[in-house]
Assembly symmetry: C2
Protein backbone atom coordinates (compact mmCIF):
# COMPACT_ATOMS: atom_id res chain seq x y z
CA UNK A 1 0.00 0.00 0.00
CA UNK A 2 1.50 3.31 -1.03
CA UNK A 3 1.04 6.56 0.83
CA UNK A 4 -2.11 8.42 -0.18
CA UNK A 5 -1.70 11.24 -2.63
CA UNK A 6 -2.51 14.34 -0.61
CA UNK A 7 -3.50 17.74 -1.90
CA UNK A 8 -3.20 20.84 0.26
CA UNK A 9 -4.95 23.95 -1.03
CA UNK A 10 -4.68 27.43 0.46
CA UNK A 11 -5.52 30.13 -2.05
CA UNK A 12 -3.92 33.52 -1.53
CA UNK A 13 -5.96 35.94 0.56
CA UNK A 14 -8.45 33.28 1.65
CA UNK A 15 -9.61 32.31 5.14
CA UNK A 16 -9.60 28.63 4.15
CA UNK A 17 -7.14 25.76 3.85
CA UNK A 18 -8.15 22.33 2.58
CA UNK A 19 -6.43 18.95 2.64
CA UNK A 20 -7.75 16.12 0.48
CA UNK A 21 -6.61 12.51 0.18
CA UNK A 22 -7.91 9.15 -0.96
CA UNK A 23 -7.36 6.78 1.96
CA UNK A 24 -7.01 3.09 1.08
CA UNK A 25 -9.46 1.90 3.72
CA UNK A 26 -13.25 1.67 4.00
CA UNK A 27 -15.19 4.75 5.03
CA UNK A 28 -16.34 3.14 8.30
CA UNK A 29 -12.72 2.45 9.27
CA UNK A 30 -11.64 6.01 8.53
CA UNK A 31 -14.55 7.28 10.57
CA UNK A 32 -13.49 5.08 13.49
CA UNK A 33 -9.96 6.50 13.26
CA UNK A 34 -11.46 9.97 13.82
CA UNK A 35 -13.91 9.04 16.57
CA UNK A 36 -12.16 6.47 18.77
CA UNK A 37 -9.58 8.00 21.09
CA UNK A 38 -7.16 5.06 21.08
CA UNK A 39 -7.10 5.15 17.27
CA UNK A 40 -6.92 8.94 16.97
CA UNK A 41 -3.75 9.21 19.02
CA UNK A 42 -2.02 6.79 16.64
CA UNK A 43 -2.22 9.20 13.69
CA UNK A 44 -3.23 12.70 14.85
CA UNK A 45 0.02 14.59 15.14
CA UNK A 46 3.70 14.17 14.36
CA UNK A 47 5.04 10.73 15.21
CA UNK A 48 7.79 12.04 17.48
CA UNK A 49 5.16 13.41 19.86
CA UNK A 50 2.95 11.41 22.16
CA UNK A 51 -0.66 12.41 22.66
CA UNK A 52 -2.81 12.55 25.77
CA UNK A 53 -6.54 12.64 25.22
CA UNK A 54 -7.92 14.75 28.08
CA UNK A 55 -11.48 15.06 26.78
CA UNK A 56 -13.06 13.26 23.86
CA UNK A 57 -16.79 13.36 23.20
CA UNK A 58 -17.13 12.84 19.44
CA UNK A 59 -20.86 13.48 19.30
CA UNK A 60 -22.84 16.53 18.21
CA UNK A 61 -22.51 18.99 21.11
CA UNK A 62 -19.49 17.26 22.64
CA UNK A 63 -16.08 18.71 23.41
CA UNK A 64 -12.50 17.52 22.90
CA UNK A 65 -9.04 18.29 24.24
CA UNK A 66 -5.81 16.59 23.15
CA UNK A 67 -2.31 17.39 24.43
CA UNK A 68 0.85 16.60 22.51
CA UNK A 69 3.94 15.92 24.57
CA UNK A 70 7.37 16.25 23.03
CA UNK A 71 10.42 14.22 24.07
CA UNK A 72 11.48 16.96 26.52
CA UNK A 73 8.11 16.79 28.25
CA UNK A 74 6.80 20.10 26.85
CA UNK A 75 3.06 20.05 26.26
CA UNK A 76 1.01 21.49 23.40
CA UNK A 77 -2.73 21.51 23.98
CA UNK A 78 -5.55 21.68 21.46
CA UNK A 79 -9.26 21.83 22.12
CA UNK A 80 -12.64 22.48 20.59
CA UNK A 81 -16.29 21.52 20.42
CA UNK A 82 -18.19 19.31 18.00
CA UNK A 83 -20.94 21.04 16.02
CA UNK A 84 -21.77 17.83 14.15
CA UNK A 85 -20.55 14.25 14.20
CA UNK A 86 -22.10 11.93 11.63
CA UNK A 87 -20.77 9.07 9.45
CA UNK A 88 -20.46 11.47 6.52
CA UNK A 89 -19.06 14.49 8.23
CA UNK A 90 -17.49 15.95 11.34
CA UNK A 91 -17.68 19.70 12.00
CA UNK A 92 -15.75 21.01 14.99
CA UNK A 93 -13.91 24.01 16.31
CA UNK A 94 -10.14 23.99 16.89
CA UNK A 95 -7.88 26.15 19.04
CA UNK A 96 -4.20 25.72 19.90
CA UNK A 97 -3.16 26.75 23.42
CA UNK A 98 -0.08 28.37 21.89
CA UNK A 99 -2.19 30.85 19.94
CA UNK A 100 -5.02 31.55 22.38
CA UNK A 101 -8.08 33.25 21.01
CA UNK A 102 -7.44 32.09 17.45
CA UNK A 103 -10.14 29.61 16.57
CA UNK A 104 -10.93 27.83 13.34
CA UNK A 105 -13.88 25.79 12.11
CA UNK A 106 -12.94 22.37 10.74
CA UNK A 107 -15.14 20.35 8.40
CA UNK A 108 -14.05 16.80 7.57
CA UNK A 109 -16.10 14.85 5.03
CA UNK A 110 -15.86 11.13 4.27
CA UNK A 111 -16.92 9.80 0.84
CA UNK A 112 -16.80 6.24 -0.41
CA UNK A 113 -14.82 5.94 -3.65
CA UNK A 114 -14.91 2.33 -4.84
CA UNK A 115 -14.15 0.97 -1.39
CA UNK A 116 -11.57 3.63 -0.59
CA UNK A 117 -12.40 6.86 1.20
CA UNK A 118 -11.99 10.42 0.05
CA UNK A 119 -11.22 12.54 3.07
CA UNK A 120 -11.61 16.30 2.69
CA UNK A 121 -10.51 18.32 5.69
CA UNK A 122 -11.21 22.02 5.50
CA UNK A 123 -10.31 24.68 8.03
CA UNK A 124 -11.73 28.19 7.91
CA UNK A 125 -9.96 30.71 10.10
CA UNK A 126 -11.08 33.98 11.68
CA UNK A 127 -8.61 35.85 9.47
CA UNK A 128 -6.37 35.34 6.46
CA UNK A 129 -3.42 36.08 8.78
CA UNK A 130 -4.45 33.22 11.06
CA UNK A 131 -4.67 30.91 8.07
CA UNK A 132 -1.24 31.96 6.85
CA UNK A 133 0.23 31.56 10.33
CA UNK A 134 -1.15 28.05 10.66
CA UNK A 135 0.21 27.12 7.25
CA UNK A 136 3.63 28.41 8.23
CA UNK A 137 3.51 26.55 11.53
CA UNK A 138 3.63 23.26 9.67
CA UNK A 139 0.03 22.49 8.69
CA UNK A 140 0.93 22.12 5.03
CA UNK A 141 4.04 20.03 5.73
CA UNK A 142 2.14 17.78 8.09
CA UNK A 143 -0.83 17.20 5.75
CA UNK A 144 0.65 14.29 3.74
CA UNK A 145 2.26 12.82 6.86
CA UNK A 146 -1.02 12.90 8.74
CA UNK A 147 -2.95 11.35 5.86
CA UNK A 148 -0.37 8.55 5.56
CA UNK A 149 -0.65 7.88 9.31
CA UNK A 150 -4.45 7.96 9.08
CA UNK A 151 -4.34 5.39 6.28
CA UNK A 152 -1.98 3.18 8.28
CA UNK A 153 -4.39 3.14 11.22
CA UNK A 154 -7.63 2.88 9.23
CA UNK A 155 -6.33 0.13 6.96
CA UNK A 156 -5.31 -1.95 9.98
CA UNK A 157 -8.87 -2.18 11.29
CA UNK B 1 -30.86 57.72 22.54
CA UNK B 2 -30.33 57.35 18.80
CA UNK B 3 -29.90 54.06 17.00
CA UNK B 4 -26.30 52.83 16.99
CA UNK B 5 -24.31 53.47 13.87
CA UNK B 6 -23.76 50.03 12.40
CA UNK B 7 -21.14 48.98 9.89
CA UNK B 8 -21.51 45.78 7.88
CA UNK B 9 -18.41 44.63 6.00
CA UNK B 10 -18.24 41.76 3.52
CA UNK B 11 -15.33 42.08 1.15
CA UNK B 12 -15.69 40.49 -2.28
CA UNK B 13 -14.46 36.91 -2.48
CA UNK B 14 -14.04 36.56 1.28
CA UNK B 15 -15.39 33.90 3.66
CA UNK B 16 -16.11 36.56 6.28
CA UNK B 17 -18.79 39.11 7.12
CA UNK B 18 -18.49 41.51 10.04
CA UNK B 19 -20.98 43.78 11.78
CA UNK B 20 -19.73 46.48 14.16
CA UNK B 21 -21.68 48.94 16.30
CA UNK B 22 -21.19 51.11 19.36
CA UNK B 23 -24.00 50.21 21.74
CA UNK B 24 -25.04 52.91 24.22
CA UNK B 25 -25.01 50.60 27.23
CA UNK B 26 -22.35 49.22 29.57
CA UNK B 27 -20.38 46.16 28.47
CA UNK B 28 -21.83 44.02 31.28
CA UNK B 29 -25.36 44.84 30.11
CA UNK B 30 -24.58 43.97 26.50
CA UNK B 31 -23.04 40.71 27.65
CA UNK B 32 -26.20 39.89 29.61
CA UNK B 33 -28.31 40.53 26.50
CA UNK B 34 -26.27 37.82 24.74
CA UNK B 35 -26.22 35.30 27.56
CA UNK B 36 -29.64 35.46 29.24
CA UNK B 37 -32.36 33.73 27.27
CA UNK B 38 -35.20 36.06 28.25
CA UNK B 39 -33.12 39.04 27.10
CA UNK B 40 -31.82 37.40 23.93
CA UNK B 41 -35.29 36.72 22.55
CA UNK B 42 -36.13 40.43 22.86
CA UNK B 43 -33.54 41.46 20.27
CA UNK B 44 -32.22 38.40 18.38
CA UNK B 45 -34.26 38.31 15.18
CA UNK B 46 -36.79 40.39 13.28
CA UNK B 47 -39.43 41.95 15.53
CA UNK B 48 -42.34 40.40 13.60
CA UNK B 49 -41.16 36.93 14.62
CA UNK B 50 -41.40 35.37 18.04
CA UNK B 51 -38.56 33.24 19.37
CA UNK B 52 -38.56 29.99 21.27
CA UNK B 53 -35.37 29.11 23.09
CA UNK B 54 -35.17 25.31 22.95
CA UNK B 55 -31.63 24.97 24.30
CA UNK B 56 -29.41 27.67 25.78
CA UNK B 57 -26.18 26.87 27.55
CA UNK B 58 -24.02 29.99 27.12
CA UNK B 59 -20.88 28.50 28.60
CA UNK B 60 -17.74 27.14 26.98
CA UNK B 61 -18.73 23.71 25.65
CA UNK B 62 -22.47 24.39 25.78
CA UNK B 63 -25.03 24.22 22.99
CA UNK B 64 -27.88 26.43 21.83
CA UNK B 65 -31.01 26.17 19.70
CA UNK B 66 -33.48 28.98 19.00
CA UNK B 67 -36.58 28.74 16.80
CA UNK B 68 -38.23 31.73 15.17
CA UNK B 69 -41.97 31.49 14.60
CA UNK B 70 -43.63 33.72 12.04
CA UNK B 71 -47.24 34.96 12.28
CA UNK B 72 -48.46 31.99 10.21
CA UNK B 73 -46.85 29.56 12.65
CA UNK B 74 -43.99 28.55 10.36
CA UNK B 75 -40.81 27.76 12.29
CA UNK B 76 -37.18 28.58 11.47
CA UNK B 77 -34.63 26.85 13.64
CA UNK B 78 -31.02 27.80 14.35
CA UNK B 79 -28.49 25.94 16.44
CA UNK B 80 -24.85 25.68 17.35
CA UNK B 81 -22.27 25.06 20.05
CA UNK B 82 -20.24 27.46 22.17
CA UNK B 83 -16.46 27.22 21.76
CA UNK B 84 -15.89 30.05 24.24
CA UNK B 85 -18.06 32.24 26.42
CA UNK B 86 -16.27 34.95 28.40
CA UNK B 87 -17.06 38.57 29.32
CA UNK B 88 -14.88 39.79 26.44
CA UNK B 89 -15.87 37.36 23.76
CA UNK B 90 -18.28 34.68 22.61
CA UNK B 91 -17.22 32.19 19.93
CA UNK B 92 -19.90 29.79 18.66
CA UNK B 93 -21.01 27.85 15.65
CA UNK B 94 -24.23 28.68 13.77
CA UNK B 95 -26.39 26.63 11.42
CA UNK B 96 -29.84 27.43 10.00
CA UNK B 97 -32.20 24.47 9.58
CA UNK B 98 -33.19 25.89 6.19
CA UNK B 99 -29.65 25.45 4.84
CA UNK B 100 -28.60 22.21 6.50
CA UNK B 101 -24.92 21.39 6.46
CA UNK B 102 -23.86 25.01 6.04
CA UNK B 103 -22.15 26.05 9.24
CA UNK B 104 -20.38 29.24 10.19
CA UNK B 105 -18.15 30.28 13.08
CA UNK B 106 -19.26 33.42 14.88
CA UNK B 107 -16.99 35.56 17.03
CA UNK B 108 -18.57 38.39 19.02
CA UNK B 109 -16.27 40.71 20.98
CA UNK B 110 -17.29 43.29 23.57
CA UNK B 111 -15.07 46.31 24.25
CA UNK B 112 -15.68 49.16 26.67
CA UNK B 113 -15.52 52.56 24.93
CA UNK B 114 -16.04 55.31 27.50
CA UNK B 115 -18.95 53.52 29.12
CA UNK B 116 -20.47 52.41 25.82
CA UNK B 117 -19.71 49.06 24.22
CA UNK B 118 -18.19 48.31 20.86
CA UNK B 119 -19.72 45.06 19.59
CA UNK B 120 -17.93 43.33 16.73
CA UNK B 121 -19.73 40.30 15.36
CA UNK B 122 -17.82 38.33 12.76
CA UNK B 123 -19.01 35.27 10.86
CA UNK B 124 -16.67 33.09 8.82
CA UNK B 125 -18.37 30.68 6.47
CA UNK B 126 -17.28 27.38 4.93
CA UNK B 127 -17.33 29.00 1.49
CA UNK B 128 -17.57 32.39 -0.16
CA UNK B 129 -20.85 31.21 -1.72
CA UNK B 130 -22.27 30.52 1.74
CA UNK B 131 -21.25 33.98 2.86
CA UNK B 132 -22.86 35.57 -0.18
CA UNK B 133 -26.02 33.51 0.30
CA UNK B 134 -26.33 34.58 3.92
CA UNK B 135 -25.81 38.21 2.98
CA UNK B 136 -28.55 37.95 0.34
CA UNK B 137 -30.88 36.24 2.81
CA UNK B 138 -31.07 39.44 4.82
CA UNK B 139 -28.05 39.38 7.12
CA UNK B 140 -26.86 42.77 5.92
CA UNK B 141 -30.32 44.35 6.07
CA UNK B 142 -30.91 42.97 9.54
CA UNK B 143 -27.57 44.11 10.97
CA UNK B 144 -28.58 47.69 11.92
CA UNK B 145 -32.03 46.52 13.06
CA UNK B 146 -30.52 43.87 15.31
CA UNK B 147 -27.99 46.29 16.77
CA UNK B 148 -30.74 48.82 17.50
CA UNK B 149 -32.80 46.13 19.22
CA UNK B 150 -29.73 44.97 21.18
CA UNK B 151 -29.17 48.53 22.37
CA UNK B 152 -32.81 48.88 23.40
CA UNK B 153 -32.57 45.76 25.55
CA UNK B 154 -29.09 46.37 26.98
CA UNK B 155 -29.78 50.02 27.82
CA UNK B 156 -32.92 49.02 29.73
CA UNK B 157 -30.96 46.90 32.22
Amino acid sequence: MSNPETTYTAEPNSHAATTTAIIDAPKAAVYRAYTEADLLVRWWGPRELTSKVEQFEPVTGGAWRVVHVDPSGAEYGFRGVYHEVSPDRIVNTFEFDGTPGHVCLETVTFEDVDGKTRVTSQSVFQSVEDRDGMAQSGMEEFAPVGMAQLQEVASSL
